[in-house]
């Protein structure tokens, strides 16, 4: 597949007529094999950009497309075969086992009537293997830790056998180890399967560590986009973070942002 998987072009979204736009002429693209993190302060338009790309927000102007086709024109079950999404919060009404939960990732392929076939069961088994939840298959999802539950939902998205993954604040409630495990998993999947991935996060440093590129949103606009280093630097220069920060480079080459203490000397030190 040539060309970007996700593409937003001068997209503007306004939730109520007369209100300030939640997304204001934003453009960016994500290609297969690329992991892009959507970052920015609260209310910057990250969730709205995601909703536009997933065909859930009405565009006032501009376009949002998936594999070159307008996002809103995809039938839901077809889009679900192309894009697996892990949403921020999910509260099922009824209990299910891990295996049952992951198996629901096959629904976009099964449609209304087709029964689970051997190929579907294999896809479920592979997905559980890849997300390292195979050992949990018989557990009730209500008894899982936060990190396990996130991995189960990634497994369900993988069972969709999608060409793209979208994760909305995937590590919000995870401790350091589970946060790293989850993002390493996503990074591996992107690399090995050439998935296009979008991670929405307000953990700037984590995003800079794992993403190939950052899209920094500010008041509905793309304030900067590109390699993590230049985006963080541009954000610092333009005061997007609303707080004085310094940009540092780690020994492994990744760049990280340090918020300054009030009254400390300005500027970076390394």
């Amino acid at each position: 597949m040539d060309g970007p998987l996700f593409e937003l072009t001068r997209a503007t979204v306004r939730y109520a007529p007369g209100a300030a736009p939640s997304l204001d002429g934003a453009s960016f693209a994500v290609s297969p094999g690329e992991c892009v993190a959507l970052v920015g302060p609260n209310g910057a338009g990250k969730t709205t950009a995601l909703r536009a790309l997933l065909g859930l927000a009405r565009l006032e102007s501009g376009t949002a497309s998936v594999e070159g086709r307008p996002a809103g024109a995809w039938p839901r079950h077809e889009l679900a075969r192309a894009v697996g999404v892990v949403v921020q919060r999910e509260e099922p009404v009824f209990p299910a086992t891990v295996e049952e939960a992951v198996a629901m990732g096959r629904y976009p392929h099964l449609g209304r009537w087709r029964a689970f076939a051997a190929a579907d069961r294999e896809a479920v088994a592979r997905a559980m293997e890849a997300a390292d939840v195979a050992a949990l298959r018989g557990r009730w999802v209500g008894t899982l830790s936060g990190g396990e539950w996130q991995r189960v939902r990634v497994a369900r998205a993988l069972a969709q056998e999608p060409r793209a993954l979208v994760l909305d604040e995937p590590t919000a409630s995870l401790d350091l180890r589970h946060e790293m495990e989850l993002l390493e998993l996503v990074a591996t999947l992107v690399r090995e399967r050439r998935l296009a991935a979008i991670i929405v996060s307000h953990h700037l440093n984590l995003a800079a560590r794992f993403a190939d590129g950052l899209v920094l949103l500010h008041r509905g606009r793309v304030a900067a986009a590109g390699p993590p280093e230049s985006v963080l630097e541009a954000g610092r220069r333009e005061g997007v973070f609303g707080w004085p920060v310094a940009v540092h480079r780690l020994p492994d080459g990744a760049v990280q942002l340090y918020p300054e203490r009030r009254g400390a000397a300005p500027g970076g030190s390394s």
């Binding site: 999910e90 629901m104 990732g105």
Partner: protein, 333 residues
């Protein structure tokens, strides 16, 4: 993984159905020995026995089976729609609204078994709309607990209106209408069975076709969308079909509460939440339960009959209390 295996569960359900139907044709004020009943079913023996079995007991068992099944499927679907495992057409005020619609139609002189379900359907849709409005006003977002409260309130209001209408209309019809509303299969005949089947089969088919949509919807609207569900369409269909089922059941047998709560719960616990398996199983279990409850209602104080709604409430309220405790304990922890 599941407490009961699918094959064993289906066998148990089949046995329960046979037991219920046997009880349905054996119980009654006229004493018939099992051999006589069997003969009558095959069209042999005493013509009086044949008449009793074929035009009284069998249609009554068939109506009970349909009413119980339809209520259970309606309840199971509503539980997903309103995201509350305690939902049931009775507790959500749907049955009350349907009863009001039916009583208004009767008061206006329309009593055909083919027209009553339509009037009840209008009542049920209005009641459901009122319940939604109340629940959303009270909480901002739809709150499952407020929703059940709103359902009970709307149901009571509909009940009060029904009481008022019945007391100002002709006294002679009032008592029988009252008895019908308390839930009874006394008016059973093949016409009633045919009318209920005609109204409920399309709705059952719609819900069965949405079974996977229900599975997804139970995850929440957002995840459901990303797994390919057309959430708005599924919700609309479930709303209309579940209301139609509740209305058709009310038009046929009055207000029978708690079947739609107790039966899907029991089946969910034993069989899991996959609605392609759950809905048919709930239909069979609900039907069997209602036929058994009706057999008990006819024999407990024979020759006087209890309304079957009394029996289901006697079973259902303690079960509801138990489930409520468990549910509130879980969601507040």
């Amino acid at each position: 993984m599941r407490p009961v295996r699918a094959g064993r569960f289906a066998a148990g359900l089949g046995a329960l159905l046979v037991l219920a139907l046997a009880a349905g044709v054996l119980a009654g004020p006229a004493f018939l020995r099992p051999g006589e009943v069997l003969g009558a079913l095959l069209g042999r023996g005493d013509p009086a026995a044949i008449a009793i079995v074929w035009s009284l007991r069998l249609p009554r068992a068939a109506l009970g089976l349909l009413v119980g099944g339809v209520l259970a499927v309606s309840g199971a679907s509503l539980q997903v729609l309103v995201r509350n495992p305690l939902a049931d057409p009775y507790l959500l005020g749907l049955s009350g609204g349907a009863g009001l619609g039916a009583v208004l139609a009767i008061a206006a002189g329309v009593a055909s078994p083919w027209a009553l379900p339509a009037a009840a359907f209008c009542g049920a849709l209005l009641a459901m709309a009122a319940v939604y409005r109340l629940a959303v006003v009270a909480g901002g977002a739809l709150d499952g607990r407020v929703l059940v409260l709103a359902g009970v309130v709307v149901g009571s209001f509909a009940g009060a209106l029904v009481g008022g209408i019945l007391s100002v209309t002709e006294a002679q019809g009032a008592r029988s209408a009252m008895l019908w509303l308390m839930g009874g299969l006394g008016g059973a005949g093949w016409v009633a069975v045919a009318a209920l089947a005609a109204y409920s089969l399309p709705a059952l088919a719609v819900l069965f076709a949405e079974a996977r949509g229900l599975d997804l919807l139970a995850l929440g609207e957002e995840p459901a969308q990303h797994l390919g569900a057309d959430v708005a369409r599924t919700k609309r269909r479930v709303y209309v079909a579940a209301s139609l089922l509740a209305a058709a059941a009310v038009a046929a047998a009055g207000i029978v509460g708690f079947v739609g709560l107790v039966v899907p719960h029991a089946v969910r616990m034993m069989r899991g939440h996959d609605h392609r398996g759950l809905l048919p199983a709930a239909f069979a279990a609900g039907g069997a339960l209602l036929v058994l409850a009706d057999a008990a209602a006819r024999t407990a104080f024979a020759p006087v009959e209890l309304p079957v709604g009394v029996v289901t409430a006697l079973i259902g309220v303690p079960v509801f209390a138990f489930l409520l405790r468990r549910w509130t304990a879980r969601s507040s922890s």
